[in-house]
């Protein structure tokens, strides 16, 4: 571990176990090989980062892993269980929560209603019961307070600012109580102060045992936040390791800077 990963703390001391892993994952759109034989292992209890130039297949990889699109071949496993090609809601309930690249919330529902969408159990009785039970509302308010937007509970989600929507999306994902949280560009389009706030949240959640897999272009954030970095280029990982190792790897410099 490097000195830069402040969040490592107790998690770093335990031996690494695989969280999400893919073997030879492939997905092409027409003639474009978006993901081209990616074999990657992310570590349980860590903050994992997935970086790479635009068009290197990071988001397609995310979508394949979370079931949003079906991979052409290869396999995905989560904590030892095969989840290849499973429906997104099954993968979500297996414990993987995700955010989207361009923040996606439910615009014409209130902030609180947004929080109550996440499904943890599909028992019939639970689904037919009122969505607004005290226990669930308390949990939602707690999480909204944690991301700092509890005062917006009654506002329509489309009326709050973009930064607040990003925080809402994260809080909404947390309502599903996932073990692993995949964030697609959490710092994209938000101001520096909010980036700091998101970074602080990721660190504290990681300290509580949540695994993170983060796609991000903000190198400063990636290097300060992550324990393990995987670099993608042309649909497959070209290098992985601690932030310092990755930063000095010539293949990474070439992919990013073209030198």
């Amino acid at each position: 571990m490097t000195a830069t990963s402040e969040a490592a703390g107790p998690a770093a001391a335990t031996p690494t176990t695989p969280s999400l892993a893919t073997v030879d994952l492939k997905k092409s759109f027409g003639g474009v090989h978006a993901v081209d034989g990616a074999t990657v292992t992310f570590h349980h209890g860590k903050v994992n980062a997935l970086i790479g130039p635009n068009g290197s297949g990071k988001t397609t990889f995310f979508n394949c892993v979370t079931g949003m699109i079906k991979p052409d071949s290869g396999s995905v496993s989560y904590r030892g269980a095969d989840i290849t090609g499973k429906a997104p809601h099954r993968i979500a309930r297996a414990g993987i929560g995700r955010s989207f690249q361009l923040c996606r919330i439910f615009p014409r529902m209130t902030v609180m209603e947004n929080m109550l969408v996440a499904v943890r159990s599909t028992s019939l009785r639970r689904q037919l019961a009122s969505a607004r039970n005290a226990e669930e509302l308390d949990r939602a308010r707690g999480l909204l307070a944690r991301v700092g937007i509890e005062h917006l509970e009654h506002s329509l989600a489309r009326d709050i600012s973009y930064g607040q929507q990003k925080l809402l999306e994260l809080a909404g994902v947390l309502m599903g109580d996932p073990d692993t949280i995949m964030l697609d560009e959490p710092a994209g389009g938000v101001n520096p102060a909010l980036i700091d706030r998101i970074a602080t949240l990721v660190r504290s959640l990681n300290a509580e045992g949540k695994t993170f897999i983060v796609v991000e272009h903000n190198m400063e954030l990636v290097m300060s936040l992550s324990d393990h970095v995987v670099v993608f280029d042309r649909g497959r990982p070209i290098c992985e390791g601690t932030p310092t190792v990755v930063q000095s790897d010539p293949r990474v410099l070439e992919a990013y800077l073209g030198i």
């Binding site: 979370t66 949003m68 429906a87 997104p88 809601h89 979500a92 309930r93 929560g97 995700r98 989207f100 996606r104 919330i105 439910f106 615009p107 014409r108 529902m109 209603e113 109550l116 969408v117 996440a118 499904v119 943890r120 599909t122 639970r126 689904q127 037919l128 019961a129 009122s130 969505a131 607004r132 307070a145 944690r146 700092g148 937007i149 509890e150 005062h151 917006l152 009654h154 506002s155 009326d159 600012s161 930064g163 607040q164 909404g172 994902v173 309502m175 599903g176 101001n191 520096p192 102060a193 700091d196 706030r197 602080t200 949240l201 504290s204």
Partner: protein, 406 residues
């Protein structure tokens, strides 16, 4: 932990009491409204001037049942079906044919017809809910046209284009006006049941999932909502109630013709009524049915057999989509809310917005000031933060907020 930010510290000062008071007030208002509505509906037959007006009332209630039933799928999931006449038509014919061929109790026949249509809706839903948007609309229309052809051609069973005469459930001693009155109450009861079920779903977790599908289906699924199953259940419930509405209409009207039962127009009316009243509101389709149902009868009465009522309906739909895309009820609620005390205080919104604006306008300064707050978690009123929130809170003129919110 950045549990407290500038926005929260300003907001926690007061919004809850205002929120509680206005919520209790609006609950009282709703209860009063519900009682008034019930009284108005139940007293209609007594105040209706003549049997013709009463029969218009029955038609309107029938439309209200159909539109509210349509809204189980249209309002919750946002899947716009233009072909719901399939289910009302199937329900009507199934009821009629059961009564004719098995001489079973007509009300039992109606219920059985509803269940048969619900079962049929499962494979139809599985096939059609795979596609979204315009494709779903086209599939729904295709089904109506297929059923129209089948029911017209299969004359030996359905009566074909000559129509099907359905025996009345009440004996010959019950005269026309009495018939209308009974059917008015029966339709009202069916409407009440449909509204109750809609309301129960609306407040349930299942309903929250359905509304999430309407807003962003993929996102909902990523949060663990089994979207396909949810859509299918809403679809089947919708078909069931639509079929009951069709069946009750068959028993009232006593005559079925495929061209009117399986018509795109009936399906379009369900959509128009719901859109007009507001598809996200419990009583939206009902209100729309009252307006559209009355307008249709009025135009038919004024202009006889011309197609003018269709032109008028087209104009109405155009106006709704242009000026009240959310429907009358949300538009009216928004208007009322504007004259009410704000649920969330004006101050907190403007503070948040101003802070946001400041950040975008002057990122350097804002960053420095924000950092001092986020870094140590609690809200430290250092010099720059004090001036920023102070300026925002003092300057709570409504014009600023109006501008910022709109």
């Amino acid at each position: 932990m950045p549990s407290a930010s500038d926005t929260t510290s300003v907001s926690t000062t007061d919004p809850t009491p205002v929120g509680d008071r206005s919520r209790r007030g609006s609950m009282l208002l709703k209860a009063v409204g519900l009682v008034a509505l019930t009284v108005a509906v139940l007293s209609f037959p007594a105040v209706a001037a003549n049997p013709f007006i009463l029969s218009v009332g029955v038609v309107i209630m029938s439309y209200a049942v159909l539109a509210t039933s349509w809204n189980f799928v249209g309002g919750f999931t946002g899947y716009i079906s233009l072909g719901h006449a399939s289910y009302s038509g199937l329900g009507a014919y199934a009821t009629g044919l059961l009564v004719i061929h098995t001489s079973m109790n007509p009300w039992l026949a109606m219920l059985l017809a509803g269940l048969v249509v619900a079962v049929l809706a499962v494979p139809i839903g599985i096939a059609s809910l795979r596609v979204r948007g315009a494709s779903f609309v086209i599939v729904s229309i295709a089904l109506v046209l297929i059923l129209l052809l089948v029911f017209q051609s299969w004359g030996s069973f359905t009566g074909g284009s000559n129509g099907l005469r359905v025996p009345r459930p009440f004996g010959p001693e019950v005269l026309r006006p009495e018939q209308h009155e009974r059917f008015f109450y029966l339709h009202a009861a069916l409407l009440a049941v449909a509204l109750l079920v809609w309301w129960l779903i609306d407040r349930s977790r299942f309903g929250t999932g359905l509304k999430a599908i309407r807003e962003d289906e993929d996102k909902a699924q990523a949060l663990g909502v089994p979207t396909f199953t949810y859509k299918l259940i809403a679809f089947v419930v919708s078909a069931f109630f639509t079929a009951l509405g069709g069946g009750m209409y068959a028993l009232w009207f006593g005559f079925l013709d495929p061209i009117f039962q399986f018509s795109i127009l009936v399906g379009s009316y369900m959509v128009l009524m719901s859109l007009l009243g507001g598809i996200r509101s419990l009583f939206g389709p009902f209100l729309g049915a009252v307006i559209v149902g009355y307008a249709v009868e009025y135009f038919k009465n004024q202009y006889g057999d011309t197609q003018f009522h269709l032109v008028a309906m087209g104009l109405l739909l155009g106006l709704v989509v242009l000026f009240m895309p959310d429907g009358i009820i949300p538009a009216a609620t928004a208007l009322v809310d504007r004259f009410r005390p704000q649920r969330t205080s004006i101050r907190e919104v403007s503070a948040a917005d101003l802070a946001e604006q400041r950040r975008t306008a002057d990122p350097e300064a804002a960053r420095a000031d924000q950092q001092s707050r986020t870094d140590d978690g609690t809200d430290v009123p250092d010099a720059s933060a004090e001036t920023s929130t102070g300026a925002a809170t003092d300057n709570d003129s409504p014009t600023v907020t109006e501008g910022a919110r709109r």
